[in-house]
Structure formats: C-alpha cells, structure tokens
Assembly symmetry: C2
C-alpha cells in the first residue's frame, strides 16, 4: 500500500515552559513510536505554549526557544516529528520544525497570520514566504499551521498543486468557543475536498488565561470522511493509518483550485526527502480511533469551564479556591464547576449574609454546600457595615440608602474573600455573569473581586442552561431547585430584584448577544424585532460600563466575543 | 512666488463624537479661511477621534463616519480641507479626504499600518494601494498619514518621485511618550531632506483613555529648517507661507531615493487638480509662528499628566475627583497635578489614618491640602478595621498581623473613596506609581482602586523629579519638603519601609526600565552591570504580578512601554 501511519499528539503545553513542553513532546514521540507511527504531529507553538503574547518580543525568549528546539531534536531518533515553535531569524516566525534522526531537517513558516478577535499575530510574527513538502519514502506530505487552512488557496494550494502533497498536516492552537468545533469540522472537510488531500488536524488542549483549547484533532479523508477523531478537552495520542490508493485516479476528486503559475506568489516549493522509521515496517496493525459521540453546546461549555479553571489554578500555583455563596444561581454554578474541576476538598465557600439576605438564601447556600460536600464558612457582614456607615455618616448622612451603601456590602464581601485568599493562598473566584458585566450590574472591588471570573462569558440564560445540565449530569438536584427557580436578586436592599434595574434576562440576553457577540448596530438589532427603547437602553448601558469591565478579572472565553482580548472598546466615547 | 499658505489645525477630537468633531473641523476651516490660508490640514482620524478601537468593527459606526464626512463636505466652500476619517468601502481604511467646494474630491488611504506597541491598525484597516498628489494651482502636494513617513521610501517616495510632490502633508495622531517629540523632529527633518520636500506635519492634541497627544505640529523646509512650529498640549491653528522657489534647482538638494520603475509597487500616482481659494489672493501677509521654547523631559511629563487627566475627567462626564492623601509623595504629586488640571475646587482629598499612620503623615497631608487649597476629609479607619478583625478572628486568628491585615487597611481606604464616589459622582484617582505596580507592591481593590491611575506609568524616581518640578514651577514648596525627603513607607504595619520589601528605588528603577520599557532579558540586563541577584529578583517579581496589573485602572502613558495596550503579557507563565 501507499500511505503512512500518522500520530497526532493532542497535548497541553504551558506558556514559557520550554523545559516542561520539551519533556511532553519527547514523551509523545516515544508513544508514537511505540504505536508504530511513521510521523508524529504536534500542535502550533507547542514548544513555547500558546499564545506566548509579549514574551515573543523578548529576544532572550525567542533565542531560548531556538535552543530548546535544538536540544529537543538532538534526542529524537528515526521518528519524524513535526513540532510547532517560535523561530528567531531576521524576524520571528510561527513555525513548524520537521525533526528526524537528531536534526531539524526543514522548517515551514505560517503564511496566514490572524490579527482579529483574540489574535495579534501580526504584532509578533513575520509571514512565511516559502513553501515546503515532505517526501516520506515516496509519500508527499504538506505542512500548514492553523489559519493557513481557514481560507481557500494559499500555502495549501501551492503545496498540493505544485508540490504534489497528498497528505496535509495542520498544526493548530484554535481557541474554543461555543459551536466552533462544528464549524471547524466543516472547514476541515471543505479544505480536504479542495485538494483533494487527506487532512490531519492536530489541535492543542488545555487552557491559557482566558483561552481554552478543546482538541478534537482528526484525520479527514476526501472519500471516507473522518477516518480518525480524538476526544475533546483531554490529552490524547490519535493514530491513523492513511491509505492513499483510493485517492489516486478518482475522477470525482479533481482539485478545486483554478491555478496558474502566473498567479502563484511562491513559484517554488521545496521538497525535503525523509524515510519512514525503520521500526515501523514490522509494526502491529493500527486500530481506527473514533471519538464515540460529539458534545452538545451545553456540554462543551461545561467542559470548557472545567478545563479553563483547573488549568488556571494549576498553572498559577494554587491548590484551593474560595468563593462567596449567595444562595443565587451564579455562585451555585461557579461552586459546582469548581468542585468538578478541583474536587470538593479544594473548594471553600463563604456565606456572607447582610440584613437584606433572605433566610431561604442561607438555607439554599448551606444545602448546596452539603450537596457539593464543600466547606462553608459563614461570616455576617452587619457589624462591618455598621462601622462603615458610622464612619461615613458625616459625609453621606445617616440614611444608609442608595448605591454607595449597596456597594459597601458587596465590597465588604470582596474584602473578606480577599483576606482569606491573602492568609491561606486560596484563589478567589468571582461569580458574575456576562449579562451583569455587560450592563455594569456588578460592583467593582465587590462581587467583581477575584483572580478568576469563571462564568464571566456566560449570559444569564446560559447560566441556567449549564446549571440544568449540571443537575442532569449528576442525576439529582446538585444545585437545589429553589436556587434555579427563584427570581434573581442582588439582595443589597430590601426586596430588590434584578428586574428593578435590568430588562428581564430573556429579553436582555438576545440583545446583548446581537450587540456584543455579533457586533451589530442599533438599527440592525431593532430590525430583528426588538423595541428601539430596549435596544438603545442596552447599548447605552453597555458602552457606559466599559470602565468596570477593564478592571475585571480574566475568565473563560465561551462565546465568539468575550470581554477579554477580543473586546477592545474605548472607555471614553461620545458615540450616540 | 510659487507656493502655498498652509494652515495646520492642531485640534482635539473625541472618539465616537462625529457631530462634535465635525463642528470643530468646520470652526477651524473658517479660522483658516480668515487667516488667508489656501489649504487646511487636520490630524489623522480627526472626524472619528483616535483611536476608535473596536468601534471600527461596527459597520454602523464606519457608515456613520462616511455620512458625517459627506455632511461636513457639503458645508465647505472654496477652502481646501484635508481631513482624516474612517473610510468604509470593501474594507475599512484609515484615510484622508480632500474636500473643497462642497465635495470630497479625492481620498488617500494610509499605506503603512502600525501594529506594535499600542497600535492595532492591522486589526481594523486594510492598507492603501494607490497613491495621490494634489495639484493646487500648479503646486504639487502629496498626502501621507502618520506611520507613512516613519520609514524611508514608501508612499512618500512615490508621490515625490513619480507625482512630483514639492509639499508633503502628514496627518498624525502620534501618542506621547517622554522624549518622542525630539525623535519626531529628527524624523521630520530626515524625511523632508529625503524628498526634498517641504513637510507639513499636523498632530492631534488632547487625550483618549491612556493616550495623550502632544501636538507640536510643524512645517519643515529642507533649506530653512523649521519654518513654523506649534505649541504642545494645546489646540492651535498654525499658519505658514511656503515658498518653493528656493527648493528648485538647488544641487545640494538631490532626492535621496534610489528609485526605479521596476521596484515601484504602485506605478501610477493619481493627480487631483484643485484651485487656491479665490479669497486668498488678496490676503494679508501670514506671520511666521514659532513656538518659543521646547519643554524639558520633566516638563513634558507634567504637561502630559495634566492633559491626560483633564481630558479623561471631561470626556467621561465627571467634574470632581477624590483621592486619598497619605502624607507620601505619590498621593501628593497626584493631588498637585489634579489641582493644576481641574482647579482646587474640583479636587477633594481624604486622609484615612490607621494606628500605623505617623502623626507627621497627617501633618504633611494637611499642609499639602492647605498649600493646594483643596478640601480634606479625615476619616480614621481604626473602627472599621476592628470590625473586620473581629469578624475574621475565627478564621485568621487574633493576631491581626500579616499581609491579610495589611491589605484590609488598604481596602478599607479604597472602599471609603469609592463610597464618596458613588454618593457624589466624584472620580476616584488611584495614586500608585510604576515601580509599585511592576513589583506588585500595591493592594488590589485597595490603593489600586479608582477610575484613573494618574501616575501609574511614572517610576518612583520620576515621581520625585516631577514633584521637584511642581515646586520649582510654583516658586515655593507646594509639596512640603518633608514629603519629598522622608523615606517611602506604606504605613500598613509598625515601622514599615518600602525597602523592607523592595530594593532601593535608585537600584530598582533602572532594572525596571531595562526590563519593562526596553524589553531586555536577564542576561542583557546583567551585562549592563547589575547584580544577577537583583535582576533575577526583579524579573521574577514583575512576572508574578501580572494578575494585579490586569485589574488596574487606566492611566496616562508616559514611557515607551506602559502597563496598558502596549503591554500584553500572559498571567500564567512558567518562564524561568
């Protein structure tokens, strides 16, 4: 047969940890070898971690990346390993090194550099301007990196049409958002058909600050469809035997390119000749791996939250987290996910009631903590509040009403959580959701305080969806029904309800989604059937609260547009 | 004579305020006309404000910019106005419109898009790929936008060598940092000599969030040097009569370009023919304007802080600010600059002593407030602290020592300031400096609390320099000598000094400058003569405190690299 056995190393990597990432790569090269693979593919920038952000501006860092690559290469035998790294030359490049028998044989430089959304790749990288194919014992293999295959044509076209590539490798670090996995599968099949080529897509897993990488690596065959699929949100070595016989001479699989030499920006494609590892000849039959089922949108959000939190905690040297339980849905969901990510022993809850906290809020918080088997600390804030009110009476008067006094309560809670954090080294989880953060319905240094805002990118309606899923998954009401059913309230004054200050969430959230996530304007949203009053009120309020969001902790990106690196709005603006 | 009378409208503009900016432009067109100018030049993106950031991703916004331009053009008579705007076509462009007699006659699109430092222009704009010169009654005038002239060659070369431009206009919005003005002058003279062309450089003034625009617009003549120079940090209409006779046939002024058609990316240069305004023929002689003296580095920092604060306050709808006075240098300088920017009536100070506050700290705070003629509110924090300690005793013990209890004090102060803010609508100024923020020697939600961190980009040693200048400028010790001379202390425990936790500032600050501002690595800094222990300690500490900086308020960018849009470091990193 004509073909290769590929191994896709769907691994985590840690930003800046060249040594740890090198160990991980060596481990997976060995595993690929043991599995009888001819070639093992790693994710984009696997050696440096992704995204390294401004570390890439430090010459010392990019030079270290080069040294780490040389060191890594020297320990690799006859396995062919394709490894993402930051290449330091006359400029810095987002590159893939082809390593075999102790040496880097050739390097491919990413051509299409994303510079939108969370991506700033033109800030850091020069664009590649050469193309490359590997000739592995007669099989032609092309190499692309992430964005290179997100558009038709480009480097893949050149490698196929001029370099004769039959298999196309893609090294990716494609950040998760809800629904992107499905889109990516369509993209991969489209691009495979364009060739036609067998497309092997290796994506990162794990998380870095606000980004989660969801894996889902796969191999797509233009006739057979997905011939191998890895799981998601977990490390995995995906192996796949690629048979190219069927691809050849099939008249239904003509290249989709309309290609002429004159239009080709890089007329030459370098060919790098390598041989299959000697050991692979006598290998055992490689089993087909197909991830059993896909996840629902709610399931993948849940998995992303778990992954994002556990990685943040681990990478930043924490063991335990602490959060305030209010008896409401946001803190309940945050606690439940924290327990899933870290275990009940590593989650501490604090119930911090005021005079406005309903008795049933306390009951609910206690019941939740019992369900989750986590410790709950209770500290009433009334005494501290009285001390503030007393000190402020001279300036603010005796009435103890209004936003100043509401916020003091939230800030006392923030301070108590931070005191526990300072004393015991626990990470404080902020519990606010995206609807609140959009509308500024949250208190700076109060409920916004914390090192990680786990659910900051979930609209309130999505908070409910994921909470229901948590219960469904547990097979019981882990989050008490009362918490899900009660009307949302901040409990900062008597008989307060969120709807005193905000439109009902089922009206608010679709407008927020249109404005924040889809980037639509006032008239465009109104034309979708929302009332002008609602739309204008929401947009005005979102714009006016940018200063709060700018001081919010990071949290897991779940949507196409989170309040993080992909949201760069001015604070000062007089837009109408 | 051959030549033109130019007017450079060095104006403020407000991000998103299309209507207000249009009025400002109309006002300056009229003033230029009254001054007898033939052509009036405005800054880059003057119509939308700069930088509009993600507003540019909203189709509704860029379409409004187009509509505002058309509306603006319809009101303009025979004056030739060159106006920066966001152009919406098949892509969005950073463009200059040439307006005359009620119509937009032609448009130039910026070619070189900066995508480093604070700039993300490749996120928003397509690059221009056409060139243009104006023929104004026989005088050839080229147009470039900001970055276009920061490199040799490029669009300017084409307009001169192929389009015959004798005068080169440049529309800029070049953010201030210390020393950049001097660099810019050298750049302008270099580029003018390259032509040779008379280079008319119109820069924005005012401020937007963390950026200040310092003006300093000018006209440079390759033989005569600066023939007109505007002031800095203030609006101004700079007029200048450009005589081109001397430029012609001078053998010492050969073009520096080594230019051939084959190398030229845009072989064609469009020519747009216009006529001088009819009125300008009988005009009065235009006086030469030369800004009297340049500012020292310390003076320009002072001016930038004043400008940055007053614009932030005004653009965000505040009137008054409040800040905590500790009796230390940082809060003293912040207060003094706030008074300069807003007037003493609009600055409220709060003295918030604890048991660790020295009596002389209080005396110093009171003396400062008297010198500045500002109101001072005193609220001791001991009672509130006792309430916290009591509530936390069960978890943290009775000892009331350690970082948890130190931070509680800072956070009580933050909360009291925020309560005043919430009640009265005052903007809270955070008073921390860059040395503290670099080293994490500051308390989240405590001294870091506020809407604007005025001096966050000043190293401690620069804080002293500017404080001395404030006194020198006042001709008396506005900031009491005791405050300048005392050893820095946070006063969060007994006999605490900054040097308990930090290297002395005169050792620390040069390492911070090398690491943060110049982006050097460990070995590079050590090779400059610092001890390895110091350098490693500083870098480790800076890296570990990224999470704090991510939640800091915005403040005025003063250095080449501030902790703002130009600092994008990962929080999670295991770099060694």
């Amino acid at each position: 047969m004509s073909g290769l056995v590929l191994a896709l190393a769907q691994v985590k990597s840690a930003v800046g940890d060249l040594e740890g990432n090198s160990s991980k790569i060596r481990e997976y090269v060995q595993r690929a070898s043991d599995a009888g693979a001819d070639l093992v593919l790693f994710p984009e920038l696997c050696l440096t971690g992704y995204p390294p952000e401004d570390l890439l501006l430090k010459t010392e860092f990019t030079r270290s990346s080069m040294a780490a690559l040389a060191e890594l290469a020297s320990g690799i035998g006859d396995m062919i390993a394709v490894v993402g790294f930051a290449e330091s030359d006359y400029d810095v490049f987002n590159s893939a090194a082809v390593i075999c028998k102790g040496a880097v044989h050739c390097v491919y430089r990413k051509v299409f550099l994303p510079n939108y959304g969370v991506f700033d790749e033109m800030r850091y990288f020069g664009a590649g301007n050469r193309n490359l194919v590997l000739d592995v014992s007669g099989t032609r293999v092309g190499i692309t990196i992430c964005e290179d295959i997100w558009f038709p044509g480009g480097p893949m076209e050149e490698q196929v049409a001029r370099g004769g590539a039959e298999i196309m490798l893609n090294l990716s670090a494609s950040p998760f958002n809800r629904g992107k996995y499905d889109y990516r599968k369509k993209l991969i099949s489209s691009r495979s058909m364009d060739g036609p080529v067998v497309l092997a897509y290796c994506n990162m897993v794990g998380a870095q600050d606000e980004l989660v990488f969801d894996g889902g690596s796969c191999v797509y065959h233009p006739q057979m469809g997905f011939i191998a699929k890895a799981g998601r949100f977990r490390e995995e070595l995906l192996t796949c035997e690629v048979d190219l016989e069927q691809l050849k001479g099939n008249r239904l699989l003509e290249p989709r390119f309309r290609y002429s030499r004159a239009e080709c920006p890089h007329a030459e494609v370098d060919v790098c000749r390598l041989e299959k590892p000697a050991a692979s000849a006598g290998r055992r039959k490689v089993p087909v791996q197909l991830c059993p089922t896909d996840l629902s949108l709610t399931e993948e959000i849940f998995e992303a939250l778990v992954s994002g939190l556990s990685e943040y905690v681990e990478k930043n040297g924490f063991k335990k987290v602490v959060l305030g339980l209010s008896g409401g849905i946001d803190s309940a969901l945050t606690a439940a996910i924290a327990v899933e990510a870290l275990g009940g022993d590593n989650v501490v809850c604090a119930f911090l009631p005021s005079r406005y906290t309903a008795g049933e809020s306390g009951d609910a918080a206690v019941e939740l903590a019992e369900n989750l088997k986590v410790r709950i600390i209770t500290m009433p804030i009334g005494g501290i509040f009285a001390a503030y009110a007393g000190e402020l009476a001279g300036e603010l008067g005796e009435k103890e009403e209004g936003v100043a006094f509401e916020n003091i309560q939230a800030r006392i809670r923030g301070n108590l959580l931070m005191a526990l954090s300072n004393q015991f080294g626990w990470l404080v989880l902020a519990t606010g959701n995206k609807s609140e953060l959009s509308m500024g319905y949250c208190t700076l240094y109060g409920d916004m305080a914390g090192g990680f805002a786990l659910i900051k990118d979930l609209l309130k309606t999505q908070v409910y969806e994921v909470a229901e899923y948590v219960n469904e998954r547990a097979g019981r009401e882990l989050i008490p029904r009362f918490i899900i059913d009660r009307p949302p309230t901040a409990e900062l004054r008597a008989e307060q309800l969120d709807t005193d200050s905000l439109p009902p969430y089922d009206e608010l959230d679709p407008v927020l989604e249109a404005y924040v996530e889809q980037g639509l304007g006032t008239q465009e949203i109104i034309s979708r059937g929302f009332t002008p009053e609602l739309v204008k009120r929401v947009i005005r309020t979102v714009d006016a609260n940018e200063y709060k969001r700018r001081q919010a902790p990071v949290g897991v990106k779940i949507t196409p547009r989170a309040f993080g690196r992909d949201w760069r709005m001015p604070i000062s603006t007089r837009r109408r």
